[in-house]
Symmetry: C2
Subunit: 571 residues, 2 copies
């Protein structure tokens, strides 16, 4: 299994990747090489799929690839067209396209919109290679017990190969593994599950391909968050034994129409096969903070790299959020590829200045300091007339954040740097952020990381480094936006331990205020939080994309109307 990192839209580049990984697999002695879902286009291509020229280009690339791939069988994801378009897999065998499968189950929930684009396939496909019957499936197909794998195995498949682009979220790896083990056992079939790897806008694909035998034992496991060639030698003899001793199977097979599965026999390829040296792949379960960190690093690196940037800028406040983002960026790109910018004001504490400096030094990142005071003073004068007789309020507070946004964007415009924003999921959920201020930037690294997890990941970074990369005081002091004297987050927000739990229930689990209150939170607090979430939808709509790490992020996962009068008050 070639667990590779394609780039969306980069048809020529992805074709090259397919060729070089096919060569690698051949060199390693493989007879069959499996690529991820929509290998040629990258996943998800979104509305590029509505461009007829894009489909043409991807079809041309497949044909050209097929001519070049010889001496091996490769299963390649692409977009097929036949009256409609299909999320498809081509069986490329020794210089020819020997068969094409169309994905039958099209996800259209969460971040997925496949029914916007594709027609569903209707016919499962098995092919025979060197005496082994192999069923082809694509991603969602394997998630249904009644999906094609069932009938494919009844029709004789000993191995199901499944092409995936399965986005990461915390806990998903375990979900997948349990499901695949059950599917393998239920159907007495081996499963080779190959996942794409890499970042694409708000999604991160974590790889971690799996080869599982018919008893549910894991034979091989791909690396997490990295490209990998997963080699396995499979033995199908005991499958026949097991199946012959299973009376339920005979019963089921009798009621399955003989022509329900299309069957393709591939001619033998004559070449000397060196017995592959199979690396014993061990399970390397990642602890949560490390897994999240790796997802954030890969998501950041790929957004920067795939969009053609070489350098990023991060506004450093001396607080935990910007410290974490700077650390992630330094791991993703190297410290010399980041410029941190401290932008103090009259409200910036000495501690913040010191902590920001210390952090930059610890990470080896260049720190630029630009005081916002000269501009802030002018704004206050400029608005003296319009604001006459009115007390300072969030207008003056947000002004400061927007001056900082302007400085960062000026650096971006001058030097071609990408600005990383530093807002976390707790803030983004309740709108505790300044639009065009601290929300200004191209990529929101920790947008889906709740504040309590921001602390956990930051602490993990120090633990992992074996030294306090992130200064201790940053981890312990009370969080503050420093936009007015003696401000702390908790002037406006409930404690983060409470806030994050209520937000999970309200935003991720769609619970009502009553249900959340029944979990043990004060009704007034729950209502306040829910209202803050509802009223800040307009801010999130204008936020940059950020990496999804929870089951429900604040991007394509959650599509709320801005104009929306629904709330507990309507009861």
């Amino acid at each position: 299994m070639a667990q590779i990192n394609p780039v969306v839209g980069d048809i020529a580049g992805n074709a090259k990747r397919i060729l070089s990984w096919t060569a690698k697999a051949k060199r390693a002695g493989a007879q069959l090489v499996l690529f991820p879902e929509l290998t040629i286009t990258g996943y998800p291509p979104e509305d590029l799929l509505l461009k007829p020229g894009f489909i043409d280009d991807n079809l041309k690339a497949l044909k050209s690839l097929a001519r070049k791939i010889t001496g091996i069988t490769a299963i390649i994801g692409f977009v097929d067209r036949d009256a409609d378009i299909f999320n498809a897999a081509a069986i490329v065998h020794n210089g020819k396209i020997a068969g094409i499968y169309h994905k039958m189950y099209l996800p259209n929930y969460g971040v997925f919109d496949e029914q916007r684009y594709f027609q569903a396939g209707t016919t499962p496909l098995n092919f025979v290679l060197n005496g082994v019957t192999i069923g082809v499936g694509i991603c969602e197909d394997i998630w249904y017990p009644e999906g094609p794998a069932r009938i494919q195995s009844l029709a004789g498949a000993e191995l199901i190969v499944n092409l995936n682009a399965s986005p990461y979220h915390m806990g998903k790896a375990a979900l997948r593994e349990e499901m695949l083990i059950t599917r393998a056992r239920d159907n007495e079939v081996m499963i080779a599950y190959n996942n794409t790897v890499g970042g694409q806008d708000e999604l991160v694909f974590d790889g971690r391909g799996l080869v599982i035998d018919e008893k549910g034992s894991i034979l091989a496991r791909g690396r997490a968050f990295e490209e990998d060639l997963i080699l396995t030698d499979i033995d199908i003899d005991h499958i026949h034994m097991a199946r012959q001793h299973d009376p339920r199977r005979r019963e089921l097979k009798r009621s399955t129409p003989a022509d329900a599965v299309r069957l393709i026999e591939l001619p033998a390829i004559k070449r000397k096969l060196r017995p592959p040296a199979i690396p014993k792949t061990k399970a390397i379960p990642l602890e949560e903070a490390e897994e999240v960190l790796q997802a954030l690093i890969l998501g950041t690196r790929d957004y920067v790299r795939k969009n053609g940037f070489t350098h990023v800028a991060v506004g450093l406040s001396g607080g935990i959020d910007s410290a974490l983002v700077a650390a992630i960026a330094s791991f993703a790109l190297g410290s010399d590829k980041i410029t941190c910018v401290a932008m103090p004001s009259r409200y910036t504490s000495k501690a913040s200045v010191v902590d920001a400096e210390k952090l930059a030094k610890n990470l080896g990142i260049k720190l630029l300091t630009v005081s916002i005071e000269p501009a802030f003073n002018q704004y206050l004068k400029m608005m003296k007339g319009p604001f006459k007789g009115l007390k300072p309020n969030k207008a003056e507070e947000n002004m400061q954040a927007r001056i900082r946004g302007n400085i960062l964007m000026a650096l971006s415009n001058k030097f071609g740097w990408l600005v990383l924003t530093t807002g976390n999921k707790s803030e983004m959920s309740v709108g505790y952020a300044t639009l065009y201020g601290d929300m200004a930037g191209g990529f929101a690294v920790i947008k889906d990381v709740p504040k309590t997890l921001v602390y956990a990941v930051s602490e993990h970074i120090n633990k992992r480094a074996g030294k306090t990369l992130i200064p201790a005081r940053i981890l312990t002091k009370a969080p503050t936006a420093e936009l007015r004297p003696n401000q702390t987050d908790q002037d406006t927000l409930p404690p983060y331990e409470i806030l994050d739990k209520v937000l999970k229930a309200y935003v991720e689990d769609d619970k009502s205020s009553d249900e959340i209150a029944a979990m043990g939170f004060r009704k007034a607090i729950v209502k306040k939080i829910a209202r803050m979430v509802d009223l800040s939808e307009y801010k999130r709509r204008q936020a940059p994309p950020g990496i999804k790490i929870t089951p429900k992020g604040l991007g394509k996962d959650r599509r709320m109307p801005i104009t929306n009068r629904y709330s507990d008050k309507s009861k």
Copy 2:
């Protein structure tokens, strides 16, 4: 037909609206009153549909409504739940829910995501009221020749009532009308097509309900962009005559299973019916510029009103875009509900200052002037160090736009005003706009209006007013962003007559560069434009929503990846 304007999420308010319009219909002598699609929730409720509590609340509202509606039959749109959820219509008859229909065709393209939420219905429904057989359908159902209306009319329906939330775009009214006329004739059936009206985020619903007889003649037509009660007296006798003389129909009916359509007989309601005074509704075809203007006015008014704002701010540059937005806002809200803000700099021409003042005066809008120079000077000083040795470029240009954004947002934060942005579709398509600068604001009124149409609508405003509300020079001078000396848009962009045609082909029609060049444009220009569109996706992702007026807007209609290496260069 009650062509009403519900508010998304406002279940209690929408229920009230249903009651008051039902009473109105009753007073007018109607026996049947038809509401729009998803009347109780508003359309589209988007991910509110994933909240179980929201579905509960809507079901409770329906039950309560049913008890209160007596002496008349009402067809009300709501979300039904039965293992899954359905886009549904309830037949409320004299205090009871007499039947429920589930929408069978669920659109999942363009701005629609109905397969994300709903299960499709499987059974067409007819009901008999006072001897007339009436088939119920919801929106998309009627767009397919093989849809439920076909079988409903074969099973005896003389009238099809269709509940809609059909969003406006230019030319859609004619499309709808032609389709409905054909559908009526093909099925020898009368059609009552009721559409919602009002703005909801980027969508505007234009009303214009239609009652069509079986010969395709229009019996009644609802107002455009306004609420309306559309009264029609229908006569079904000639339908029977026509059907009896149609041999094809007899043939078709023979092959239709008798139980394919569910039939409900409603008991008669005993009440004195005054013969309704039927207003002869004439076709009032709107000329394009007027139609677009009305859509923009309603979209703006409803976004402001439904989100609880009472006042808006518009930055006035002296150019055509901000002039048009100010004019639209004044028509939508009244001149006293807008504050215009002129924010001149060293590059602002005397003409711009004069034109902005003149426009504000003509529209009766208060004009605030805040020079950006004091802040701009400070920024230049603050960035002197970091920018040392580098020539001024877009960094200094965008700085100015972002100072303006900061001023407008400070006013917004201080006074609770909504900032309207002024970018047009041509600019937004190629990214000729400053993120967090002129793109800063809550609602982008003319985001889907190409520059050439901006001129046409502006000229129309003067024509319609019978005086030059928008000063003549604004309509004739060369467009410029005035961010550097002697700048004009055409330094960077091709002439708008060419740009807009190429953009329509590339953005709306998804044509390739080769195809567009073949239409008669220089290949180099086409490639340049396509590249500008592709590279500015990240800006559009952070833009405020704006009113869709073309078949393909830049919002939910177009879902492009930001990370995207596809372009002609990959060929």
